[in-house]
């Protein structure tokens, strides 16, 4: 506009009005800024200004809506239910020192999992567990046959089908002259198995084929077929589980029945009675009692008491001798002909600090313990912990391993008393 020069005080305002479409000046290319304005003219200005504003506002809203859907999509893609690979795991590192003989040691164990939801009902999870290969190994563990395991789940004919490929439990033997309390412990890893299960009206029926004692070549040493019928009524769960186990030249029938009582989310009682290979005698039985209390009185106390009594003929040599049982607080198998009283306790202290105690007292089936009873032992560990994140803590611990007979599990010759102190860090992510 000829009459609105560059340096004019209202120059910016005038051209802003032009940009917004409020005015175009007079047809002769002038603005006549000093002329008085009449009511018609201002009506025209204001009405046009309003229209331009509405247009801009609609445009902004459109952009915001677009952004919103983009962000929602991104958020969904990053969430676990999107089916994109989820990635999680845990890691535990330890520094340990024993006194007699003096050994300093550092090792770690890493577990990594990646999961992928293929569709709404099909999922795949792949796990890596380094077990003792993080420095505390004696031999070689193959990455693909031993360190990895995988589980796929899907639905078939209204039932859940799951397939597990895993190495099964892995024995750790401690290098000579190191920590006797770590010799012959087991890492519980999944067995290769195929399981089909369905549920209706409180009943769950599942059936599984389990491969046990698989050689690295993939040959299954012992095969197991089992069925499990479970029924839930209120706070009670009962189940019955018969097994048929067969190897190259022998087979075995076994059955187990259990009762789980969960009066609240802080209490749990579990009773198991199982009949093993020797069907006609008491020595073929196994009984378990477990009581969990997760801070029922809000004193920051968690207690688990567990008693496992295993008859001396519960399992068959060369077939399932070291199967069908869990490990105790120190990763040791419950062997036939023993009673194991396990206790674990956690007490919250000031702020993020806590005390932890766990022990296993192992006797023969008549509760006899001492130097005349090989295989009996008392192992306990006390720890002061500091929790720095969820599932993550620093622990300063002391462990004592007492084998009065000097002969531990699996006829392992050990000192009568051995102990160690250590510092460990655990991180869950």
């Amino acid at each position: 506009m000829r009459d609105v020069p560059e340096g004019h005080w209202a120059n910016d305002a005038v051209y802003q009005m032009v940009r917004l479409g409020v005015t175009g000046g007079f047809p002769d290319g002038t603005y006549h800024g000093d002329r008085a304005i009449n009511r018609f003219e201002i009506s025209s200005f204001l009405s046009k200004l309003n229209r331009s504003y509405l247009k801009q506002s609609a445009y902004n809203k459109k952009i915001v809506e677009e952004l919103k859907s983009e962000v929602a999509l991104l958020t969904y893609n990053e969430s676990p239910q999107s089916g994109k690979v989820g990635f999680f795991g845990s890691f535990e590192g330890r520094f340990r020192q024993s006194f007699s003989p003096s050994v300093t040691q550092a090792d770690y164990r890493l577990k990594l999992s990646a999961s992928k939801l293929i569709d709404r009902e099909t999922a795949l999870k792949i796990n890596l567990d380094t077990m003792d290969t993080g420095y505390n190994i004696q031999g070689v563990r193959d990455i693909s046959t031993t360190l990895f395991d995988a589980k796929g789940t899907t639905r078939l004919w209204g039932m859940d089908l799951s397939m597990v490929l895993g190495p099964g439990k892995q024995l750790h033997t401690e290098p000579a002259g190191m920590f006797p309390s770590e010799n012959n412990i087991y890492y519980m890893r999944p067995n290769s198995a195929l399981e089909l299960s369905g549920a209706a009206k409180g009943f769950t029926l599942s059936s599984a084929f389990v491969a046990r004692q698989v050689t690295p070549s993939g040959e299954v040493g012992v095969q197991e077929l089992n069925a499990k019928l479970a029924y839930v009524f209120g706070k009670w769960l009962v189940y019955l589980q018969p097994h048929y186990v067969f190897g190259n030249d022998s087979h075995d029938y076994r059955a187990e029945t259990g009762l789980v009582f969960t009066p609240s989310d802080k209490m749990m009682t579990n009773l198991v009675l199982a009949l093993g290979s020797s069907h006609n005698t008491v020595s073929g039985l196994y009984a378990k009692f477990e009581q969990k209390m997760l801070d029922p009185r809000k004193t920051g106390t968690q207690i688990t008491l567990r008693i496992d009594a295993v008859g001396s003929n519960y399992r068959k040599e060369n077939l399932d001798k070291y199967e069908f049982l869990d490990v105790n607080n120190f990763d040791r198998l419950f062997l036939d002909g023993t009673i194991d009283v396990g206790l674990s306790l956690k007490q919250k202290l000031y702020r993020e600090f806590f005390l932890e105690f766990k022990s296993d007292w192992v006797t023969d089936t008549r509760l006899r313990y001492g130097e005349n009873y090989p295989g009996t032992y008392l192992e306990w560990e006390g720890a002061l912990g500091y929790s720095f994140a969820k599932d993550s803590n620093l622990n300063l611990f002391y462990r004592s391993y007492n084998v009065p007979s000097g002969i531990a599990q699996f006829a392992d010759l050990v000192p009568v008393v051995s102990s160690l102190v250590g510092l460990s860090v655990k991180c869950g992510f």
Binding site: A36, I37, N38, R39, F40, E41, I42, S43, S44, L46, S47, K48, L49, N50, Y53, L54, S57, K61, V64, L67, K68, V71, A72, T75, E78, F87, F91, G93, F95, Q97, F99, P101, S102, V103, T104, Q105, A106, D107, L110, L112, T130, G134, Y135, N136, I137, Q138, V140, I143, L147, P175, M178, F388, A389, S392, L394, L423, V425, C427, G428, F429
Partner: protein
């Protein structure tokens, strides 16, 4: 209820009705050029005209009237604000960003083809070697105070393995797990957070053999991997201090036979004339075998490093270190970084070191080797040598860079002789194919006086950072 609704209905007619009544100004016919704008104003509630039903559009407007119109307009423009939406968008994006940052996947891939002894024939070995090295990891932020880094480095396992490690275990040799936990110990007088760092790693590894027999210039190459250890560091009274315990030789059983205690104090001296700032770094180390009842063997070490920027484009660093009390256990080193000093796209580093014959304790040659540092070819510096080296990179254009490296090793009397004499020179060109990706071609000549052998090497490599 029905009755109430009826009352409401009637009321609403009375309230709403006036606004439906079309205002028609006597003096604004529909054909008037401004008629639509005028009735727009009425609809927006800005004006109703004069009480006598006229608008008097040709009348000049006063500043008062203008103010009233504008103020009413601003009230009438009820733009549906997008502010609330924007705020929620912002928090969603921040949450996404945080989630993304909580877990970072990173790495470096290096693959190359080498043709060894292209020209030289002494030694008799000719070979074509292809190998790769992959470094990759995940950094996971567990919470505000905790970071975990899980890192995999294939080192020389990517086809160039010298076979010195019998157990090629993933977990014991290739993985490093590093966790940093920030602790708030203000109660104990530490005003700054104390970081506790726990690391599980195999420690640095030196190539001691050449599996191809044709690339002797790679012997001594160091794969820098952290040791297993615990370290705590914080800033106290302006000093950066750290202390730690390091397992110098955790083998595959994790048993630690040689341990190291280490402590470092780092101080920045500001306002130094000409130099502005000097960084002073003092480190003390104590290396030992046997904690309680083993035959003992110990070594105390110390080093002092002084670093200063000479202007913004030159960094200078000097270091003196001792591995014992005699003169032959001393090491002096200096380094000069020239960061494009003449604005010609030239970056160069010069380094000098003189290492005493017993700088590394003879009892700990395997564990302490890395204390001497490395030459420009990332090879560990030997004891009883003087080493002069440098690197230069000249940018030709944004994609092409010429690179050169060289080093000469002399004996401690500054002689190039058959005891320690070595010379390596390398020149090449690097082409940036894409951001973080380069294709590198280079040629290297290496002379080892002790075996009076000269070898050469041409290589083409791909380097990718992710």
């Amino acid at each position: 209820m029905k009755r109430n609704l009826f009352v409401l209905f009637v009321l609403s007619i009375f309230i709403v009705a006036p606004s439906f009544a079309a205002t028609k100004f006597k003096d604004v016919p529909d054909s008037h050029w401004a008629s639509s704008s005028v009735y727009d104003m009425v609809r927006m509630g800005i004006t109703k005209g004069y009480p006598d039903g006229t608008f008097r559009g040709d009348k000049s407007i006063s500043r008062y009237e203008t103010a009233v119109f504008l103020s009413k307009l601003s009230k009438s423009i009820s733009i549906e604000s997008v502010n609330a939406d924007l705020a929620s968008l912002k928090s969603d994006v921040l949450a996404l960003k945080k989630q993304k940052e909580a877990s970072v996947f990173y790495g470096n891939y290096e693959g190359d083809w080498k043709i060894a002894n292209l020209v030289s024939s002494i030694g008799g070995y000719k070979a074509t070697v292809s190998s790769y090295r992959l470094i990759s990891g995940v950094k996971q932020k567990i919470n505000e105070n905790t970071d975990v880094d899980i890192n995999l480095d294939t080192e020389d396992y990517g086809y160039y393995n010298d076979g010195t490690v019998s157990l090629e275990s993933l977990a014991a040799n290739l993985l490093v797990i590093d966790s940093k936990i920030k602790l708030n110990l203000a109660d104990l007088g530490f005003n700054n957070p104390v970081t506790l760092q726990l690391t599980y790693g195999p420690g640095p590894k030196k190539r001691s053999l050449d599996p191809t027999h044709a690339i002797p210039s790679d012997i001594g190459y160091v794969y820098w991997r952290p040791h297993t250890g615990i370290k705590a560091y914080t800033n106290l009274w302006g000093f950066d201090i750290s202390g730690g315990y390091i397992a110098l030789d955790n083998n595959t059983t994790g048993k630690i036979n040689t341990s190291q205690f280490t402590g470092t104090i780092n101080y920045k001296i500001g306002n130094v004339p000409w130099l502005n700032e000097i960084k002073l770094d003092a480190t003390g180390d104590y290396v030992f075998t046997g904690m309680y009842n083993r035959p003992d063997c110990r070594n105390t070490r110390a080093s002092l490093t002084l670093a200063a920027p000479l202007g913004s484009k030159i960094d200078a660093e000097g270091k003196i270190a001792g591995g014992g009390s005699t003169q032959s256990s001393l090491m002096v080193a200096g380094k000069l970084d020239l960061k494009d000093v003449w604005d010609t796209g030239t970056v160069a580093t010069l380094q000098f070191s003189k290492i005493g014959a017993t700088f590394i304790d003879p009892n700990f040659t395997a564990q302490e080797f890395y204390f001497t540092g490395v030459d420009p070819f990332n090879r560990v510096l030997e004891t009883g040598t003087v080493n002069l080296g440098g690197k230069v990179a000249q940018m030709l254009d944004p994609n092409f860079t010429l690179v050169g490296k060289g080093e000469i090793t002399l004996n401690s009397n500054y002689q190039y002789d058959t005891t320690k004499g070595k010379l390596t020179a390398e020149g090449g060109i690097s082409y940036a194919i894409a951001p973080n990706t380069s294709l590198d071609a280079m040629y290297r000549i290496y002379q080892d006086k002790s075996v009076s052998d000269t070898s050469d090497l041409a290589s083409l490599g791909l380097n990718y950072n992710f």
